[in-house]
């Protein structure tokens, strides 16, 4: 048995409290750094991939991003409506494979009500090889009736089950503390969708016609839709339609490709990422500094022990190595515990993102940052340990051991 493991173990035990506190700060720093990084990477990848199977969105003239957020992610307000004839035109366009109209404007206790056709559930793969399905006992709505199909998350949160009925509320937002205007129309839950981990899970789906003609809505809504979700036959068609609607026309907006528009959103908030990352780096540096300070402050108390070890034959390099190894060991302990902090933080963030958008992050996804960050923390701690190690290296043995006589 060599001396280093014994010295390391005893030193950590002897300074157990400061070891735990310092390792705790490393754990928080490491967990925070990995969590910020992974939430950034995961949300970017997941949001860009969450096109719900559509290549493009056609809507009223306005921001492409707003159009995509409203039509695909069921966030933001609708930029306006387009005429039924515009929907029919794009649906019949030879370059378009599928065109599904949606209409928005109402909610059920905060969960968006979207009018659409059953083709959304029968003709579209929301992810490669995956189609929407209804939970056992349910079915899709009758397009001519006041029926609803509820997304899995919305059904759970609203406590709705098959056969339940509800009256929609006016508007996209729900005032939890004040009065809300309720439509007299009574809808019955015909089916509950199986979870898809997409924004679809957060929506109360009703027939398009039922939303257009709901009591209290302006009659002109009956001939309008909020947006059209589009699948194209070929990529080149998207460029052609982009020119047709966005450059040659001035009434409508053709948002294509959906993933690029979402990527643009992340580009716009990149500064926020950078700030978060910078804060994480600073937290990491402060944590490494705390290792330095914690060991350095205990050096005076340790000097006698170090001198005894030197008197027993320990080389200066062994003493130096022991202190650096102790700092690195604190880094290892902290980084290991950092995974606990990481899963807690990412789990929390993923829960919030899922609640707000329906998009589900993969908490257990792998990424190089999950080994680079712990290694970097251990390296930083070892680097921080070099300062007290140098002090230990210079310990004067004879003077420290006993008064000269």
């Amino acid at each position: 048995m060599r001396a280093l493991p014994l010295i390391l173990y005893r030193s950590l035990r002897q300074h157990a409290l400061s070891t735990l506190i310092t390792a705790g700060s490393i754990a928080l720093a490491s967990g925070l750094l990995m969590a910020v990084w992974m939430v950034k990477v995961q949300s970017q990848e997941t949001f860009v991939a969450t096109t719900t199977g559509f290549d493009a969105v056609l809507g009223a003239r306005g921001s492409k991003l707003q159009l995509v957020l409203n039509a695909i992610f069921d966030l933001e307000a609708s930029p306006g409506n387009l005429a039924w004839s515009d929907y029919l035109y794009i649906k019949r366009h030879p370059a378009v494979k599928t065109a599904i109209p949606i209409a928005v404007g109402d909610n059920l206790r905060g969960y968006r009500i979207v009018g659409t056709t059953n083709e959304l559930f029968t003709g579209v793969e929301y992810a490669p090889g995956r189609k929407f399905a209804v939970e056992a006992g349910g079915r899709l709505f009758d397009e001519g009736a006041r029926e609803a199909v509820i997304g899995s998350f919305a059904a759970r949160k609203l406590g709705l089950k098959l056969g339940d009925t509800f009256h929609p509320f006016h508007g996209l937002t729900f005032n939890a503390t004040g009065p809300n205007d309720q439509h007299p129309d009574l809808f019955t839950v015909a089916g509950i969708l199986k979870p898809t981990n997409t924004p679809v899970d957060r929506v109360v789906w009703i027939p398009l016609h039922a939303l257009q003609t709901m009591t209290g809505h302006d009659p002109k809504y009956a001939t309008e839709v909020s947006a059209v979700l589009i699948q194209l036959r070929a990529r080149s068609a998207g460029i052609m339609l982009d020119i047709l609607y966005n450059r040659q026309g001035n009434r409508l907006t053709f948002a294509y490709p959906v993933y690029a528009i979402i990527a643009e959103l992340f580009g716009r908030i990149a500064w926020f990422d950078r700030v978060l990352t910078l804060v994480s780096y600073l937290v990491g540096l402060v944590a490494a500094g705390s290792v330095l300070a914690s060991i350095y402050n205990s050096m005076s108390a340790r000097q006698r022990d170090l001198a005894i070890l030197r008197a027993l034959g320990a080389r200066r390099s062994t003493i130096f190595g022991a202190v650096v190894a102790e700092a690195a060991a604190i880094g290892v302990l902290g980084s290991a515990a950092g995974f606990g902090a990481y899963f807690a933080l990412v789990g929390f963030a993923a829960g919030v993102i899922r609640d707000q958008t329906g998009v589900v992050l993969d908490v257990f996804a792998g990424h190089p940052v999950l080994w680079i960050c712990p290694l970097a923390m251990v390296g930083l701690c070892a680097l921080g340990g070099m300062v007290p190690a140098f002090k230990a290296y210079r310990t004067p043995v004879a003077e420290t051991l006993s008064p000269l006589s």
Binding site: D305, A311, G313, V397, P403, L404
Partner: protein
């Protein structure tokens, strides 16, 4: 066989020639503490040096142990000139061939008795738990292996220090007032133990003390001032 043993005993395990050490005094001048023209110790020999506090005897032992660098002179331990060695090799020599018993024992408080003794081996041949356990049993502490120094009496701590000094099978054991912190009875017991285990292991013993009763137990005793010419210019 008897001739071989005689040759072995006569072979010097420690040889000091013109050893000089001085320190800078508060007024900036240099004060010579050690000036030993010649000193030898044969293998297995037990020798005591008498010296009052401040006489430079601890400095002398530190120089012999290589934990203090001399200003000049030559120290040979088992035929190896310390001055010719680099610091890491001096450390190695100390770890392999020297044992040191301090007045204040200098046990590591955060380590058990067993671990303290293991550290006496760790920087030479490597920490050997079995040998450390055997040594502690030899000094009567078989039941105290996992005790920390604070859990041991002063006499028991002294015995741990003895076991540690002998752990690496040293050729030379240096003992600096090893009984200074013990009462008369325990002092006598400790000294007997040190001399006995040194004899058993064939290690030479150089002990410094100012206590006449301790010194009286040695056949060979000299005044440190007799070998140290510092301040006699």
């Amino acid at each position: 066989m008897a001739k071989f043993a005689e040759t072995y005993l006569l072979c010097a395990v420690l040889s000091v020639t013109n050893l000089i050490k001085s320190f800078v005094s508060p007024d900036g001048g240099r004060v010579e503490i050690v000036n030993v023209p010649e000193f030898r110790l044969a293998a297995g020999e037990q020798f005591a040096l008498r010296g009052e506090s401040g006489s430079g005897k601890t400095t002398f032992l530190h120089l012999l142990a290589g934990i203090l660098a001399a200003d000049g002179g030559r120290i040979e331990i088992a035929g190896t000139d310390m001055a010719s060695l680099s610091e890491p090799r001096r450390d190695r020599l100390r770890a392999e061939k020297l044992g040191y018993i301090f007045q204040t024992f200098n046990l590591l408080q955060g380590y058990t008795a067993l671990e303290n003794v293991m550290l006496g081996l760790a920087f030479g041949t490597g920490a050997d738990r079995t040998r450390a356990g055997e040594l502690l049993a030899r000094v009567g502490l078989a039941g105290r292996l996992r005790h920390f120094p604070r859990q041991l009496s002063t006499g028991q701590q002294q015995r741990v220090a003895v076991a540690r000094a002998l752990a690496n099978r040293p050729r030379l054991v240096l003992a600096d007032e090893p009984t200074g912190n013990l009462d008369r009875k325990r002092s006598r017991e400790a000294l007997e133990l040190i001399r006995e285990v040194c004899r058993e292991s064939g290690a030479a013993l150089l002990l410094v003390s100012h206590d006449e009763e301790t010194l009286s137990q040695f056949d060979r005793v000299a005044d440190f001032t007799g070998i140290n010419r510092a301040g006699m210019a």
